[in-house]
Amino acid sequence: MGGKAILLVVIAFSLMFSVVNFNSSNTTTRAVENLSEYYSRTNLQNIAASGANMAANIIFKDPTWTGSFTKLPFQGGYIDINVTKFAVDKIKITSTGYLTGIYDSEIKEDTSLVKIILEPSSFSKFGYYTNKWPSGGYLVTGDTVDGPFHTQGKLLTLGSPVFMGKVTTKGGISSIGNVYGYGPADPEFLGGYESPVDVPFTLNTTKIKDAGNYDGKVFQDAGGNALDVRLVFSDDGSSIGTVEYSTRVTGTSTWSTPVTAKLDTLAPNGVIWNTKGNLYLSGTVNGKYTVGTGKSSSSYGYVYLEDDIVYRDSPLISDPANPGYTITNPDCADMLGVVAEKQVVVKDNTANRNNINIHASLFNYDGGITVEGISPSKPNMGTMKILGGLIENEAQTTGYTNGAGYRQVIKFDKRFETTTPPYFPATETYEIVSWFE
């Protein structure tokens, strides 16, 4: 009897401890599974992201590349990468990572997707682009650069200038401070900073001219001479504006009789291009246009601003929610790109001696925006206000510290982040515009 009782006690205890041990082991197993699953999922995500980065790197080196990798071994798993072009010049990268691990409490293979979209980068997306950075030229405390900024040179900062958009440089950055009365070296990159980034300064005038010949307007002298073209945009109150144009052979003084044309018939696709010569520009723009002029060797290619060149409505208005900040004006539907194969020059005339307003993205392939005959002895001409963007080969003088010339204000038209004037020059590189993971 005693023996049976002891046996029962032993069996009961064994059962009890088996249950406790099972629960304890189960808890431990689940805890390990939790960690293993997190590790597996993180690793899987990294595999897919790595594949996307590898494909993007190939495209940055060779923008024409499309193709795929299948079952590429990586980090204990493998990757399927697929690169396709769509919508003419956009690229989609899909990277699918595969990894066998613990998912949902069982060992199996799972997948993770990373999807990237790349687009050619238009120069108009820059608030300020300069191919060459002048040696000894510094952005200093108090300077504010609006919109995305890029230089192919080395950016020099003194103190703490503020950059509102993303900053990229090819040559890096040199920041100094605590000299000349300026504070410590602390440039503020509110949109981030990245280097080295190579955005070569290129201009394909053939593409613009072809677009002009196709459905726009191309000015070209029949005798092969360089041609001066004067465009005066005007808003006649209708949905489509007009432009008054006249021409003369460069170097002569007599302009042809001005012709007024509706812009939708003169240049339906918005491109007005002067093959060789100079362009004289002013007026109120109604619509979306790219106007410009080519050069011949080192001659011509100047765009002269004879007066304000503005949209019907300002592209930027004050942000009522954030005083001091501007927002895009929803009522503004106009857009202008100005392309000078040489440079943009503000004429020194009566109209321009009391401020000048420019609503456009200005592209200066062989120079930068400047003022006709600028020197320290020039009178004060007020403020040069550019609402759009400035792209130039190298910064030029527009004013002096003694007040001669203009005080320059550049505000970035945020619509250029996603929209470009028709056939505005594009970089030869792609940029990532969307990243899903």
Partner: protein, 217 residues
């Protein structure tokens, strides 16, 4: 029935009592260990749930299926404090289709106070609610035993941002996320070192989380 029998009964009672005491003590220890192990696993599971949710959403800062609707991802973070963040994203259509619907959503995370009514009734005096709100929908809340939710922000130089601009872009490139989870109703009394329960307090830190969308374009 003599004196020796009485001694046997008393001895048996004493031995039996001792064995009973040992059994009761063993039962208590077994129950306590079982609860503590379960509690630790609950804490760990809750912590992982929070981490996976945060990583899933924070990776998508600045993402929109129709990417033209967030033309400047650098401005995607709208508001950032040490205990809350609000940003533009495109919330997944559903669990199976993780891509968004092409419309910009505003996703906000913030943490409540230990004195909020939602957690006033829990035994843990320090737990608080983590809220997740999509646009202006009713905030989703879960009491997973969160006792610390702390965010730090860093610029492109890796320097911590102490003073946020009044409007985007805020200059944020990476985030540090600190999360501590404790059991909401643990077994036993408060332990030492300011930890509520005997269950281990689980702490997780993402040193530098970078949303790809913040640094594209």
């Amino acid at each position: 029935m003599g004196f020796s029998t009485l001694i046997d009964i008393l001895g048996s009672s004493l031995v039996g009592g001792l064995i009973l005491l040992i059994l009761f003590r063993m039962n208590d220890s077994t129950v306590e260990n079982s609860y503590l192990n379960s509690g630790e696993m609950i804490v760990q599971s809750n912590l992982l749930s929070i981490i996976e949710l945060l990583e899933h959403d924070f990776r998508k800062i600045g993402y929109c299926e129709d990417y033209d609707k967030i033309p400047n991802p650098a401005t995607a973070i709208i508001e950032a404090t040490d205990t809350s963040i609000s940003f533009k994203t495109d919330v997944a259509i559903d669990e199976d289709v993780q891509t968004g619907d092409g419309n910009v959503d505003i996703l906000k995370y913030w943490v409540g106070s230990p004195t909020d009514s939602e957690v006033a009734g829990t035994p843990n005096p320090k737990d608080r609610i983590l809220y997740r709100q999509v646009n202006s929908e009713t905030p989703l809340a879960a009491n997973l035993g969160l006792t610390q939710f702390n965010l730090k922000y860093f610029d492109d130089d890796g320097e911590e941002i102490h003073t946020m601009p009044s409007a985007p872009p805020l200059g944020i490139i990476t985030l540090q996320i600190d999360v501590t989870v404790e059991n909401t109703a643990s077994y036993g009394d408060a332990a030492d070192e300011d930890v509520y329960s005997k269950d281990k307090s689980a702490f997780w830190r993402q040193i530098r989380l970078s949303a790809p969308g913040l640094s594209i374009r």
